[in-house]
Symmetry: C2
Subunit: 483 residues, 2 copies
């Protein structure tokens, strides 16, 4: 890799580190408000180190006339997330009695908006730590949207080229140039967060809980300020969480288009239809099942099911009750839902709705082709033709997704974990959901008891999942390093 | 569907039924030899009914000048297996105290060479029943090879077009016309079975056990004459089983080519390389693991691992010890191995080696393409170009395979089965392996305790798996029934 390329990658990472250091002001402010001055040190140290590192990378200046090739973008993307995570783990490592492994796991879980936690006793934890965890979600969420909108389509990873905004049929009026899109998206993200804070507060949370849960829900992150997660709070706050998680799971580019005048942008999008329809059907059927097989009245069953299902499908992982106690069928349903994910261009992880829809289009066409071998069958999704490149990249993506989960699960089982913990743990990490199954890492559990090696494996899984696997795998091929 | 088409489908099914009725002579002969005359009735009744049904379909004669279209072939294939299974279940239903559900399950498990059993107390079971179960495997095995060689490539199901013998580079000398191929394959199949009987007998089995296990192993079926399966027999018989299962898991067309003078046919085939290499690596590493983590000496560990691994990968399901007692890692490994399967053109089920190899070629090419977006990357497998149709059909196949297992597992969990039993039960049925995981259907278990509904679901799964899913699914599309 040429020096100017490295310098530009360093420059961009430097900007991220400076942003991160600024983000540390929020927990510092929180600690000041709560009068926990003795805990401020760690954040100041961590912030100073991060700021210095950032400045060291930015000050030499951005080399001009350097064009990043796709291969440089892969390096940039993976390196950014990794370096940011290393620095973002510092406050937790300095402050809490967390080992660096635990701090790194918690931080990776935060910025990838996975939300698996190794911190127990959340209800008594330092407000600075709680705020920093939420901040990691919030920054990670907006970072991921930016990556999904601006970088992944260019890299043609996992069929994301479909969402290349430049090649879309939106006129420039509705979908402005990329730096404008970025400003809109950040504005909308902040707007939703503020509305969420207000709504959670009106639903009975104190301001601190409202701020944390709003940041956690809109980023589909899943960290909470209580070991009981949403279960500690009022029933109306559960519905607020549902709305926020849904907002976080929809494509942010469509909000931009809506604001710019295309009022129907959200309503005519196939992915949004599929997402909402699927959720409605699953919640309805599943709540009827729970109502009939338990002592809950119907509205109660509907609420419990909706919060948990929306939480898992949007890959948030805030829970309202231990659904693993609902029996084998429920466990199986939640295991499957772990993989689904929200819409592309949102903060959600998972396989994502559009890939299932494209698979459906392809499979239907393929079955018809078998019956009419000579017919020419048009294959479209959301108005775009599905060419061979998209088919192959979705095939590649799905295969590596499965392989990654399989390999991590195998690794976990080698450490002595049982099949359900290993499989669901690997899946929940790679899909960035954050809640597993079984007594250890289930809805009522915590990732702290896992061996250190398992935490590192899961951290790698979270990162791979967040970067849509392929972005990282490309770096591991011999072809990448040959020139 | 036109009347002449129906008549020709009926004619072919009639021939299968007559063959089946002739097959019932073997258990009758067995019962005569064992002097169990009182049990002969059921086979005579079942044989007579089957023969009459067969004759009724054949006697009107085969309509001439009727050409079967692909859509008729789908109907023929699915109907044949289903009708044959309905009649083949009669003796078990008449003779044993088995309900029709149990008899149907056992028979479907037999002819699909799955080998899951609901009969317990095998060591004391009627020799007629045991012989009929082995006969089901043996007929099902050769039937499947025939289907895989002659029909599936024409139907272009799941990438099988790669194995269309007519379009291959074999000269007519090496690969003769299809009716000749059929004769060769049947001859080789009979030859291997006879050699297997001899070898098992020399390894200490009595002739009856040797005959049953040879039929069960070469067809990669898995029924045994003992509840302890191979565990009851000598160590040398385990190695005989390994060789027979491997022979059953290799492509029978390559044996034909070898016999016809292409001595290197087996050795230059990519699928065979991949299959044997994979098995060697897995057995070696896994046996070292077992040796280090248990009290077995190395040769013992190697034998136990090799028999069980070869058994699961070739989708035989004969077991030599309860590997689920080896701990979480072993359970996970065997869960994964359930999906692998043997070679195409063999008696094995599962996803099959060539699909993994093609996936590997495609994934490697796709990663390289991401790094060099403008390069033209050639994609070949075993010397054949991988065109878009093959890629799409493999994508369709893998997706529906996963979906089928997922749906059946969900259904099983609705009946109250736990996640491991439900997932492994669905997988073992669809992959035609026959051994699941967990206390109920694991290596030491038996499918009898499952509820009737579960047995029907699993029976459907076995049939779907055996017919490579798509062959059946096509029948369920509206397009199939429209004209
Ligand atoms: K999450
Ligand atoms: K089998």
């Amino acid at each position: 890799m040429a020096l100017p390329t490295l310098r530009i990658i360093g420059f961009i990472i430097g900007i991220f580190l400076i942003t991160l250091a600024c983000g540390m002001l929020l927990p510092i402010l929180t600690l000041v408000i709560y009068g926990r001055i003795n805990e401020i040190d760690s954040f100041i140290w961590a912030g100073t180190i991060t700021l210095c590192a950032g400045l060291a990378l930015v000050l030499p200046g951005r080399p001009e006339h350097v064009h990043l090739r796709p291969r440089d973008m892969y390096m940039l993307t993976t390196a950014s997330w990794l370096v940011v995570c290393v620095f973002a783990a510092l406050p937790l490592n300095f402050l809490q009695d967390l080992s660096y492994t635990d701090a790194f796991f918690e931080t990776m879980s935060g910025i990838t908006t996975t939300g698996s936690t190794v911190v127990s006793g959340l209800d008594r934890a330092s407000p600075g730590v709680l705020m920093w965890r939420s901040m990691l979600h919030w920054l990670g969420g907006i970072g991921f949207i930016g990556m999904a909108v601006a970088i992944l389509p260019l890299l043609r990873v996992g069929g994301m080229r479909l969402f290349q905004t430049e090649s879309s049929d939106w006129s420039e009026k509705v979908m402005p140039r990329s730096h404008m899109v970025a400003k809109y998206i950040v504005g909308i993200y902040i707007g939703f967060t503020l509305l969420g804070i207000l709504a959670f507060h009106m639903a009975g949370m104190n301001w601190f809980d409202a701020i944390n849960h709003s940041m956690s829900a809109i980023s589909t992150g899943g960290f909470s300020t209580s070991d009981a997660s949403l279960g500690k709070f009022s029933e109306s706050s559960h519905w607020v969480a549902v709305v926020l998680m849904l907002l976080g799971g929809l494509p942010f580019t469509l909000y931009v288009a809506t604001l710019r005048g295309d009022r129907m942008a959200l309503f005519k999008d196939h992915q949004v239809h599929g997402f909402l329809l699927m959720l409605a059907v699953v919640c309805l059927l599943f709540s009827v099942w729970l109502w009939m097989s338990s002592k809950h009245d119907y509205l109660d069953a509907l609420r419990l099911v909706t919060v948990n299902v929306v939480s898992v499908v949007t890959t948030t992982g805030l829970v309202v009750s231990d659904y693993s106690l609902w029996g084998g069928f429920a466990v199986m349903v939640f295991f499957y839902l772990t993989f689904v994910g929200g819409c592309s261009g949102s903060t959600s992880g998972g396989l994502k709705i559009f890939r299932f829809q494209i698979a459906y289009v392809l499979l239907k066409a393929n079955l018809n082709q078998l019956i009419h071998p000579r017919a020419v069958i048009k294959q479209q999704y959301n108005g775009y033709p599905l060419d061979e490149e998209i088919v192959r990249s979705i095939l590649t993506f799905s295969f590596f997704y499965t392989i990654t989960i399989g390999v991590i699960a195998l690794g976990l089982s080698m450490l002595g974990l049982d099949l359900i913990t290993a499989l669901s743990g690997a899946a929940t990490a790679v899909c960035n959901v954050g809640v597993g199954l079984g007594p250890i890492i289930g809805p009522a559990g915590n990732f702290a008891p896992l061996p250190d090696a398992a935490k590192w494996m899961l951290s790698i899984g979270m990162l791979l999942g967040r970067l849509e696997i392929i972005t990282v795998l490309v770096l591991l091929t011999p072809a990448f390093w040959k020139h």
